[in-house]
């Protein structure tokens, strides 16, 4: 605590419009005391923890040099023109509700239908939720420690978080249409801290889609935290389309808690960023719980996608199924470090982990570290990792039908990635993901 206070005294120049990120920590007196306490603790912890080094096992193969934070600033308030431009591009799909943030500021809000609100559904910007729904936020806010390497960045997030949402779905409520959240980076060198807390009550059902985007090309830093709390028998589907500018450095720390007979499905689509780190931990806490962890990555130029996962089976009779696929072109690099951990007494576990890398160029590099730690009996566990290239026969088949090589390649990659998207079992969402992937192909392969 004392460390935090000492630092606070140092930071006095609030007048600067875009202070450097690491000098911008301030005690915000507009927030409740308990939350400020959280933020101070986060800042102190951030200062205390060392920067990751490649020698740390959780950062093996990672380009840790990308994580220098000196160049980033806290963006200033957005002007009306930019807001309008951003809103223009945050096209609403058919959704149950929508929040649009840019540079960590709320710029648009489509509220949830009255019928849902009356049944107790809460969908609010996190800054309001910590005041109006203190009890819920307090119970769950960053309650899951970041154990896969990014504790320092989770602490930074805790210190700076101001955007993002709380979604609370009470017992038995099913929300048909997806809920959408946009996070924009609108200012070059800006830093944002998207937060998402989903608390799904017993037997509830909800689908959430997040979009991470940049308004223009240019560097930036995104440091997000997601907590998905899936109550008994609940069903949560979560999709994130990460499409930051290709100069952005992004660290995302996700945790999912799945209770008895509940089911969580998450799909992370990696398209943008220079370096995108995704840490994803699923805790299977009750019998009959199930977690599907999905990701696709389309990496090219010098992009690096770095995924670390943990499938933590803490109760008997649980299932997890992970499928991560990357296509790599030019000098792209991907790293997958995953672990299935079956705790003692978590008997009758089914756990699967599959990683597939498709290398399209001689300079691309794929690192895979699929791990297993089994401390229980009567488990069915398997993992597989492959790295290969497009099958000559398949390419020939398409070429023989007059399809140009570039198009044929694209079709084969899309087909390769589609196996993951299909697992969403939601036609509209699948279509949306496919379009986002195709858009990336369209802008890079001209």
């Amino acid at each position: 605590m004392s460390g935090g206070t000492a630092v606070l005294e140092r930071v006095t120049h609030e007048s600067a419009t875009t202070p450097p990120l690491l000098e911008s920590f301030t005690d915000r007196d507009d927030l409740p005391a308990w939350f400020r306490e959280q933020q101070r603790a986060g800042w102190a912890e951030f200062l205390k923890l060392p920067m990751p080094s490649r020698k740390d096992q959780p950062w093996r193969f990672a380009n840790v040099d990308a994580l220098k934070l000196d160049a980033y600033t806290r963006p200033a308030a957005l002007d009306d023109d930019k807001r309008a431009e951003l809103l223009d591009q945050s096209a609403a799909h058919e959704s149950a509700a929508r929040l649009v943030f840019a540079d960590d500021q709320l710029i648009e809000r489509d509220v949830i239908a009255n019928s849902l609100r009356e049944r107790g559904v809460i969908f609010q910007p996190i800054e309001r939720a910590i005041i109006e729904h203190e009890e819920i936020v307090r119970q769950h806010f960053m309650a899951e420690p970041a154990t896969l390497g990014s504790a320092k960045f989770a602490a930074l997030h805790r210190a700076f978080v101001s955007s993002g949402a709380l979604l609370y779905v009470p017992r038995g409520v099913e929300i048909e249409l997806p809920i959408e959240i946009f996070h924009w980076l609108a200012t070059p060198h800006g830093a944002v801290f998207p937060h998402l807390l989903i608390v799904a009550g017993e037997m509830s059902k909800v689908t959430v889609v997040e979009h991470f985007r940049s308004l223009r090309q240019g560097p930036g830093f995104a440091c997000g935290v997601n907590d998905l709390i899936v109550g008994r028998g609940a069903n949560v589907r979560y999709v994130c389309v990460q499409d930051w500018s290709e100069e952005v450095v992004a660290v995302q720390v996700n945790a999912t808690r799945v209770d008895r007979d509940a089911s969580a499905t998450s799909l992370n689509v990696n398209l943008g960023a220079a370096y995108a780190r995704l840490e994803s931990r699923s805790r299977l806490l009750g019998e009959g719980s199930r977690s599907d962890m999905l990701a696709i990555g389309v990496a090219n130029r010098r992009q690096e996608f770095d995924a670390r996962t943990l499938q933590d089976h803490e109760s008997p009779q649980t299932t997890s199924d992970l499928l991560y696929k990357n296509s790599l072109d030019e000098s792209a690099r991907t790293t997958f470090g995953g672990l299935i951990r079956v705790e003692p007494h978590a008997h009758f576990t089914d756990a699967y982990q599959t990683v597939r890398n498709l290398l399209l160029s001689d300079d691309a590099e794929a690192n895979s570290m699929p791990g297993l730690e089994i401390l229980a009996d009567n488990v069915k566990c398997s993992h597989g990792a492959t790295s290969g290239q497009i099958h000559e026969d398949e390419l020939f088949y398409l070429l023989a039908r007059g399809i140009p090589k570039r198009v044929a390649q694209k079709l084969l990659v899309l087909g390769f990635l589609n196996e993951v998207t299909e697992r969403l079992q939601h036609a509209t969402l699948e279509e949306h993901v496919r379009r986002a992937v195709e858009a990336k192909f369209a802008r890079t392969k001209s």
Binding site: H347, I374, K380, T386
Partner: protein, 471 residues
């Protein structure tokens, strides 16, 4: 005087090596590790200055390197380096005849059945007792083909021109903390050279025996198989079970020149107080083939990842690994395949069985760098868990760059199904017999690839391990 622990008929084989003799050692470097100890070893062996300098430099590297506990088992911290004796020997020269081996040592190897096996099917035998080989002999016909098979000390003295060229080239001193330790205090192990075109029909065997308490064995093996030649090498090892920890830390370097084939077979059956921390790697030149067959049954903690550097076009590397972890044991084993030329292929098949509180870990590394064409790796790891308290882990790391290569890794974990056991029990087998049959079925396709003598022995060992694991 022989000291034997009580043995029941059932676990006799498990403890086949559990006896020791009070031997008077003429050479003893004392307890603890420092420059004096290293100099003592060098003096006793009458080594050249470059070897002494190599050892002293390695000692500094060992001291500088941290324990790899950031990824490896914390059990490593239990090793007390200052309580270990680093060199114990009776004499400096191995004899060529069992008649000349000192009585206690001869009795030891007779009990282990070495001279008998030599007569039956081996082309040559080296028997190491603590720090030095006491017996080393090669069949006349094989010697006449120009095959050299001596201890590392003799190899250094008699064949410095071949030895020095490859020594420490496959596994540099600083590869890891324990390769540095070995480089500082190495003694014993084999030096083998097979001339071009010579195909050694029968296996050469080395047997490593630890007899003394609080002892560390650091054998150093260097095998060079020249162009188009072939060799099978087998090693076995046992130690009595003491209450204190014993350390075994070998370095084994293999060089297969163009078109050569090396098959290296280990059946590790150390007693359950031995830390077995071994670095093994082969360098395969063009069209050469190196195959490690690695069976780990004994020891308290084994950390061993035999590797092949595929340096020449069309080189082939293979690791077949079987690990059996029983109560209190941790078998941390695996393989490394470094592809460094086009059209190289590697294959890793690992099967582990965890019994009681045993823990089996597969740790692997496959590296395919840039601009290589048509490299292939296949890795399969299967783990079998016998009891609810058993544990298994898999930690592979795979790097692939570029197109034109294919790498696949698969692992599975399973247990003997209750239905299988029930089925066999219905047909009159006891539960233990049924379990043993299932486990043998699990490893069978791998064991079948082993030389006959070893597959029979291994099957028997597994059967014995399975006794008492159920019910």
């Amino acid at each position: 005087m022989a000291t034997t622990t009580e043995q029941s008929a059932v676990d006799f084989d498990r403890n086949i090596g559990d006896f020791h003799y009070d031997v008077k050692y003429d050479f003893d470097a004392g307890v603890g590790l420092n420059e004096r100890v290293v100099n003592y070893i060098s003096d006793v062996k009458g080594e050249d200055d470059w070897v002494r300098a190599f050892r002293l430099k390695a000692l500094r590297t060992f001291e500088e390197k941290a324990m790899p506990t950031h990824w490896a088992s914390d059990d490593l911290r239990a090793i007390e380096f200052d309580k270990i004796r680093y060199y114990l020997a009776h004499g400096q020269r191995p004899t060529r005849s069992w008649e000349d081996v000192p009585e206690d040592m001869k009795r030891t190897f007779e009990r282990l059945g070495i001279p008998e096996q030599e007569r039956k099917f081996l082309a040559g035998v080296e028997a190491q007792f603590d720090s030095e080989a006491v017996y080393s002999n090669i069949k006349k016909a094989v010697g006449e083909q120009g095959v050299i098979f001596v201890g590392s000390t003799e190899g250094l003295k008699q064949h410095p021109e071949i030895f020095r060229k490859w020594f420490g080239k496959v596994i540099p001193t600083g590869d890891n903390k324990f390769s540095a330790l070995n480089s500082a205090v190495f003694s014993g192990g084999s030096f083998i050279y097979v001339p071009p075109g010579v195909k050694v029909k029968h296996p050469l065997q080395a047997y490593f025996r630890i007899n003394a308490e609080n002892f560390g064995q650091f054998e150093r093996t260097l095998i060079i198989v020249d162009e188009g030649a072939e060799l099978t090498y087998m090693e076995g090892c046992t130690a009595p079970k003491f209450n204190t920890a014993t350390l075994h830390s070998a370095v084994v370097e293999l060089v297969a020149l163009k078109g050569a084939k090396i098959q290296y077979i280990t059946v590790q059956n150390w007693s359950a107080n031995v830390f077995n921390l071994v670095t093994k790697r082969g360098l395969a030149h063009e069209e050469a083939e190196i195959k490690w067959i690695d069976c780990n049954i004994g020891s308290r903690l084994t950390m061993k990842y035999p590797g092949v550097v595929l340096k020449g076009r069309k080189a082939r590397g293979e690791v077949l690994s079987i690990a059996l972890a029983n109560n209190g044991q941790h078998q941390d084993t695996g393989a490394k395949m470094i592809h460094a030329a086009d059209e190289t292929t590697s294959n890793i098949i690992s099967k582990s069985i965890s019994i009681g509180t045993g823990r089996a870990t597969y740790r692997g590394l496959v590296h395919v760098p840039k601009h290589l064409k048509n490299c292939k790796n296949n890795t399969e790891c299967d783990a079998l868990l016998i009891n609810a308290t058993s544990r298994t882990d898999t930690y592979p790391a795979i790097t692939v760059r570029g197109t034109g290569n294919s790498v696949q890794h698969e692992a599975s974990v399973s247990q003997v199904s209750a239905e299988q056991i029930f089925y066999m029990q219905q047909r009159g087998l006891s539960e233990a017999q049924a379990m043993s049959l299932s486990v043998n079925g699990f490893v069978n396709d791998l064991v079948r690839q082993f030389p006959m003598e070893y597959s029979v022995e291994l099957k028997r060992l597994i059967e014995l391990e399975m006794e008492g694991s159920v019910g």
